[in-house]
Structures are given as structure tokens and as C-alpha cells.
């Protein structure tokens, strides 16, 4: 099992979620984060006081998948979240040791 962590542009969330639903992924966790990579921030000016804003709002998606689905999921995310411009985001694949469904106690592949 793997945990796929994808940092994407916020307006792409609905598109990516729909695309993942289509390939059979039924569970996603989404959080609002901020960060920067090579996409720099911007400056804001309030009454003569200038502030450089380094962080840009992003969406982080976490999806637990079985190993055979990893490539398909990564490909789907990359295709739908891509705009071609700086700041599109990143995908991280993290090994997932165990998963448990709280309601039933199922473990492993049955839990995801």
C-alpha cells in the first residue's frame, strides 16, 4: 500500500477529484495548506508598509492506494492538475505500512 500526497493548485481540486472518482478511487483527504517552490510570492502594500508574501495557498490531497493502482492514480492526478505554468505542484509517494477501517476493524487492502 502507498500513501499518495499531492500538492495542487486550489482551483484544480474539483477536476482532480472527479477524475479520481472515475478511475475507482473512493476516499480522499483534503487539507488547505500554503507553500512555495520555485513560484515566488508577491508584495502587498498597506499605507506605506510593504509586505512580501512568500506563501501561496495550495491544496494537499492524501490518497491511500494499493500498489497496483499507484501508477494510474499518479498519472490521473498529473494530467488533470497540470496547467503548464509554474506552481502546478508535486506528488509524493510514501510507503504505507498498515491501514485500519475504524467502523469494522478491517485491515490492509480491505481497509482502503
Amino acid at each position: 500500500m502507498k500513501l499518495i500526497e499531492a500538492i495542487i493548485k486550489p482551483f484544480k481540486l474539483d477536476e482532480v477529484k472527479d477524475a479520481l472518482n472515475e478511475i475507482g478511487i473512493e476516499g480522499i483527504t483534503v487539507s488547505e495548506v500554503k507553500g512555495f517552490g520555485r513560484q515566488k510570492g508577491h508584495t502587498e502594500l498597506y499605507r506605506g508598509a510593504e509586505y512580501v508574501v512568500d506563501f501561496i495557498p495550495k491544496i494537499k490531497m492524501e490518497i491511500a492506494v494499493s500498489d497496483d493502482l499507484v501508477n494510474k492514480v499518479v498519472e490521473t492526478i498529473q494530467n488533470t492538475a497540470k496547467t503548464g505554468r509554474i506552481g502546478d505542484g508535486k506528488i509524493f509517494i510514501i510507503p504505507l505500512e498498515e491501514a485500519v477501517r475504524i467502523r469494522t476493524g478491517e485491515q490492509g487492502a480491505d481497509a482502503i
Binding site: 498597506y46 499605507r47 508574501v53
Partner: protein, 504 residues
Amino acid sequence: MKLKLYLAALMLILMAGLIPVAAMAEEKKDAAPAATAPAATLAAPAADAAKPVEAAKPADAAAPAAAPGAPATPPDVKPVLNTGDTAWMLVSSALVLLMIPGLALFYGGMVRQKNVLSTMMHSLVAMGIVGVQWAIIGYSLSFGPDMAKMGLIGDFSKMMLNGLIIMKDAASGTVEYALFQNYTKEPGAIPELVFAMYQAMFAMITVALISGAMAERVKFSAYCVFVLLWTTLVYDPLAHWVWMTDGWLFKKGALDFAGGTVVHLSSGISALAFLMFLGKRHGYPTERMAPHNLPLTLLGVGLLWFGWFGFNAGSAIVGPNTSDAAGGLAGLAFTTTTIAPAAAGLSWMIAEWLHSGKPSALGFGSGVVAGLVVITPAAGFVQPGAALLMGVAAGLICYGGILLKAKLKYDDSLDAFGVHGIGGTFGAIITGVFATVGATGLLAGNAKQLMIQLIAVLAAGGYAFIVTLVITFILDKTIGLRVDKEDEIMGLDQTQHSESGYNM
């Protein structure tokens, strides 16, 4: 380069504008001056139909000046309650009160989220403290009969608004209401209670303005004591000096229609005095301290402008040589209070657009407030053309004041000095240039008025600054002005009030 551009624009506008105003002023040389030297020319009758000068004929006959035609001074008349004036003054009082929550929103939106309630409390609690103080001693000290005939402060005869309601027959509850008659040659009067309450709102908002400088770090208990001391020791004397007929600055002929000196200059300069002991916010100027809720601030600007109509147009009640609260003079003040802030909002916005690249919402709102501040001492003394010029200048000058603060890096958090101090000073002085209605200024041929304005500004500003320094020093050494550093970092809402502004 951009700085030079907008400075050049400022010069051009001011100079270009002075020509038509000077031309207008030339025509108005015939109008009878009020409190100033009667040596002015008085050939033609003052009723020049094209210009909206006070229409009432008796208003032209100021006691010392020779009136055109009828040389005898009219006799004093008994005051008679004028229901139209009373209705308007009741509304004006409510309008001015609305300015204080407006100020709370204006300031509150500009601080960080963790301090929003604390900042708004500064304005709100001032309503409480001054509301009580005013009834007990404030009104008496400001507008009571002069103590020791020196023109410095009123006595205690009107403590607890004594004498404003006169009990005629306690058994049946029959009362009589004392009347306030501004000009003894005209009968129009309003209940003195209404006048007292109108003035109460001014006292409330003046001290609340100072809180802008001390936001996000002042200790609430120290602030409450400061409010009480400042309104009693600074505001009440200044109001007496400038607005009471016995006041020494009034007798000198200082012009302050609705409070450029008494309200804005005094609060602005006092803010500076307070800052000397308070110190900067922790993390200033490197840490990010952007406004957390500018929609609140803009809403505040709207409420302030709305309420300011009561502030300026309502001040016609104390206009020179008139007893009409709701009349032409109020109309003029209303007009200038529309034009000046509109022009100022634009000029600040355009200056910022040219200088920094983008027109900001905060800039436009700040410009409007600057315009309102600058027109306050002049609202019923200048004509619309002058109001337009003053508005343009207000936006540019106060914008410059903000830039100066950014350069000098002193932490006047919400620009109490930058907008109110600088704007109030500028407005008070420029009134001595542009006054043509009910008084004459430099452009109307009276250079003396400008000098009087300067004296008033220096006297009031100096007094406010020194007394505030003393008050602040004492508070600093006794209760302490600031919260602890950790409390400041955590946020005043939590640490001073055990509350959180947004629990959404």
C-alpha cells in the same frame, strides 16, 4: 522620481486652484466680517445672489462691524424654542454617536485578527467613560460659565447637568427645560440638554481617536484611566478655549467650525506624546502586520462619513452670528463635508496609484477620512470651491504623512497622528486662508486670521502635547502602559478580554 512627480502635481494643483479662489474671494470682500477687524470695505450690500452666503440679514450685523445701511446694533432677544433646529440637533447628535462604532470598525479592521476586539473596545469603552464623565463634570468644565474669568475652564455649576432641567413643581412633576441660544440677537434656541448631548458625542470620539496610535499593545486598564484623565484635563479645557464665548482663543477670533483644533489636532498630537512612552509593537516594522479585515475598515469609513454630516452640519448651531441650527449654514457645512472627502479620497488614491503602482481600497478610505478631518474646522467658513481644493490637498498631504511615518519608522499603528494630527493642523491653518463665510481669511484680504489660526494651533497643540506627556508618564510609572511581551504576542483579545473575535 515618482515622488517628484506627485509633488509637482500637488504644487500645480494648489497654484492653479488658488487663482479662481482668489477671484471668488475678491468678490466677497464686500461681506461683513464677523469676529475680525471691522476695517474691511463694506461698500456693496453683502447679498451677492450668486454665492450661497448666509441669507439671513441679521446675521450680517456683527456687533463691532458697521452693517451696510442700518448702523444700530439690534437688541438682544429672548430665546424661543425652535422645533426644527431641535429636531435636527437630536438627529445630529445621534449621527455623531454613530461615528464612534464607525471608528471602532475602521480601526478594528486594520489590526491583526488577534487584536480586533481589543481595538474596538478602545472606541466603545470611551463612549462609556466619557458618557458618564460628561454628565458629571465634563459638560460643566467645557461649557459652564467661566471659572475665574480667565477663559481657561468652566466652573462646576453645571455638574450633573444641573440647571438644564428646572423643577417648577415637584408635586406635579412640572419641569422647564433650559434653552441654549447661540446668538442673542436671534431668538432661535434648542434645549440645552440637546446641546449638551451633542457636545458629549464630540468628547467621546476625540479621545477614541487617540487609541489608534496605541493599538495592539496598550494595557486596557491604563487606557481606561487615560481616557478619563485626558478628556477631563485636555479635551474639556480645549473645548472651553475654542468654543465658549468666554474662551480665550474664541475671544482672539480663532476659527474652528466643528473641531479641527479641539478634536483632530489635539488627539493627533496627543497620540504622538503617548507614543513617546509606549514604544513600538513587538516585531515592528519587520514582522507582517497587515490589516486582517479591510471590509470592516471600509464599512467604518462609510459610517464615519455618514455620521460626519452630523459632526459638521450640526455644528452650525455654534456658527458665528446665527441661531439657525438647521438652515443655510448647515447646508453649506453639509456641502463642504460632501465635496472635500470625495476629492480627498480621489487624490490619495491617485497619488498612491502613481507612486506605488496600484490604487488601494485602504488608500481611498484613508483619503476620505483625511478629507473629512481637514474640512472639519472650515466646514461652515469656506465655499465649495475652497472645499474642493482643501480636499485634494488633504489627500496628498496626509498620504505624504503616511510615507513619512514609514520612513521614520515610528509606530503610530493606525495613523492617529498621520491623518488626524497632520490633517487637523493643516485644516485649522488653511481655514485662515480660505475663510470667506461668516469670517474672512487670507484670500479675502485678512492676513491677521492666518496668524490667529497659527497661534491657536500652537497653543492647543502645545497644551495637549505637554499634558498628555505628563499623564502618560504618570501612568507609565504607576500602572504601566504596555501588556507583557508574551501577552502581546498571543493577542490582546485573549489576554486582556478572554475573548476571541471570530469563532467561526
